[in-house]
Amino acid sequence: MRINMTHGSGGISTRDLIKDVFAKKLGNNILNRMEDAAVLQMDLKSSGRMAYTTDSFVVTPLFFKGGDIGRLAVCGTVNDLLSMGAIPKYLSAGFIIEEGLPVADLENIVSSMAEALKESGAMLVAADTKVIEGRGGLYINTSGIGTVHESVQPSAYNLEAGDAILLTGTLGDHHACILSHRMEIENNIASDVAPLVALCRALFDHGIRVKAIRDITRGGLATVLNELSEASGCAIHIHQESIPVREDVASLCGILGLDPLYMGNEGKMVICVSQNDVKKALELIQHAAYGKRSQIIGQCREGQGVFLNTTSGVSRVLHALYGEGLPRIC
């Protein structure tokens, strides 16, 4: 069976869809009330601060090695909250479904979201669906709130010369996975889509002063580092040999004329800490879920701009991504 326009009419078909697909997999004591808005209890006693974010997900194909659009939609918002030092608590999800989407696909995507929410320790408290004309596409918006951990106040503005830059794992996996699907290249590259709650909590709960955290999504590591450098007024120097890249991802980049430094991830972060904390921080994240391949990749220095110290011994400027990051011929 496929989604059609009656599922979006607001009548019985809509109610059945919500009951049989959404409520069944995502239901909880708040969502199940099916009211017009969720009333929430927030514990603001400790830091008194809340973080709030939103993101929309339009990836095709909907299913790929390592995940699907549902997992992406939860992890993307969860990781954005973590980047502000907040532990994700409540999410909302809006689904725009093109008629023609198989209901079984929707069920799988919603199941995926339920698993990712469970892994993140967060709850879906508000949801909406709309059905539009089309050919079976799906777009998901999620927003999320969380309480900011009392000991943490990450911000690019915190960075100063001497701070260390950590990377939580291999670059470019998600982007490489999606391209491989689209271009029918066979490989074992899976998306790295993952919620990094445990990894960040390991740092927050041990009182590590995390100066800045950034999720490495579109635009890649180079773009994120440029944002950090511009905001902080520091130069950032990174070392090519420290940057972990899977061999098959590197090779795919070679075929398509892409650079892993500019490719998107969905489960990797840049974490900046002071020199005093770097050893402890690295140990903590290497032992946390999804952080096994974490590395120290560079440091902040006086000056401006982002520099890559290459394996040939030369330092070159690393700009933010301009352009679409598409496969090239020349």
Partner: protein, 359 residues
């Protein structure tokens, strides 16, 4: 026998007459940047980028033509993604797509075959740009289309051949030697450079793409340039043979013939392009290359892409560089491609606070 260390030291310490060496191929430009090659050389050895970047030398009229096919009913414009941002006079392919144009980006032109077979009422027009490396791929595309009886594929050609451009540059510029394009050379063969080497008494060295191979190539060029002697040296023997790829050359000859061509920045160069032979007209989208007549009168508004491609000036000496013309908003084609001289130069610059650039 030289070691790499000796080569590096020799190149860093070179104190002979100033030399200008041109690398023709955009992939070499990229390899030179990534390997930090410029920084390893004596200031008396200057590396300049030549016209071997299909994006940089594509005329704005061609882009307008490509856009018009994207917007034509029952047509799809198929292109490499490099071409999406090249400015035409009326906008670029992104603009055409936003206006409802149908554009499909491909890694390989051969992907069109299945799509065209599945959609016989749609005409697939390939924006066929590139040099001798890519031209045989278009020939294979047509060969396969013939075999499979697929009749709804067309080529909008702006294929260029590199030797006439190198000759044109040698006629007007003081270049002391060339790093020859590795992959083009695999097709045309090392011997193809002999006439130019003999005529102009300059070294032509074919190089691979690793930093070590490039350094060795530059070393050879400097050695021969010192002697002011013409020489063709193949340092990419793993894939380049004296006569090149025979099958590719035969296929090229079957489908294409030389034609005059306009190179953005260099002007019209006789017999410097390839067009479909009349017997393959059914695959051709003919278009009029208007540049030859109009270029002289065109107001380039200060753009100096031409001087950059010829190695006369560095990109930062163009008045538009970094201000009006940036990778986000390229005015001239040299800034569009990441491998165009201006695009590469921009990537290597640091923006000073308050504007201006320093190397």
């Amino acid at each position: 026998m030289r070691t790499l260390e000796e080569i590096r030291q020799a190149l860093a310490g070179y104190n002979g007459r100033p030399l200008k060496i041109m690398e023709v191929c955009g992939t070499h430009t990229s390899a030179i940047i990534k390997g930090g090659i410029r920084e390893m050389l004596s200031p008396k050895i200057r590396l300049v980028s030549g016209p071997g970047c299909p994006v940089c030398v594509t005329s704005p009229y061609y882009m307008d033509e490509a856009c018009s096919y994207a917007l034509k009913p029952d047509h799809v414009l198929v292109t490499f993604s490099d071409m999406m941002k090249v400015p035409g006079l009326k906008g670029n392919l992104y603009d055409a797509r936003a206006s409802g144009g149908r554009i499909e980006m491909v890694y390989s032109p051969l992907t069109i075959l299945d799509r065209a077979a599945k959609n016989p009422d749609t005409t697939y027009v390939m924006a066929a740009v590139g040099f001798e490396t890519t031209a045989p791929v278009y020939a294979i595309l047509l060969d396969e289309a013939e075999k499979r009886g697929i009749g709804n594929i067309r080529l909008l050609t702006a294929i260029k051949t590199i030797l006439p451009a190198m000759e044109s540059i040698l006629e007007s510029e003081e270049i002391d030697g060339f790093i020859c394009p590795g992959h083009v050379s695999a097709i045309i063969g090392a011997r193809a450079y002999e006439p130019l080497a003999a005529r102009f008494d300059k070294p032509f060295v074919i190089a691979g793409f690793d930093a070590e191979n490039l350094l060795a190539a530059i070393y050879e060029i400097v050695r021969w340039a010192k002697a002011e002697a013409g020489e063709v040296k193949n340092l990419y023997t793993s894939i380049v043979s004296p006569d090149g790829n025979g099958k590719a050359k035969l296929l090229l000859d079957k489908y294409f013939m030389p034609c005059d061509c306009y190179w953005r920045g260099l002007g019209a160069i006789p017999a410097s392009g390839l067009k479909l032979r009349p017997e393959y007209e059914r695959f051709d989208v003919k278009w009029t290359d208007k540049e030859a007549a109009e270029a002289a009168s065109q107001n380039t508004m200060g753009c100096r892409c031409g001087d950059v491609i010829k190695g006369r000036i560095n990109p930062d000496q163009c008045p538009l560089f970094g201000g009006v013309c940036t990778p986000q908003n390229p005015f001239g084609a040299c800034m569009v491609s990441q491998e165009g001289a201006c695009g590469v130069w921009f990537s290597n610059m640091i923006r000073k606070k308050g504007g201006g650039y320093e190397n």
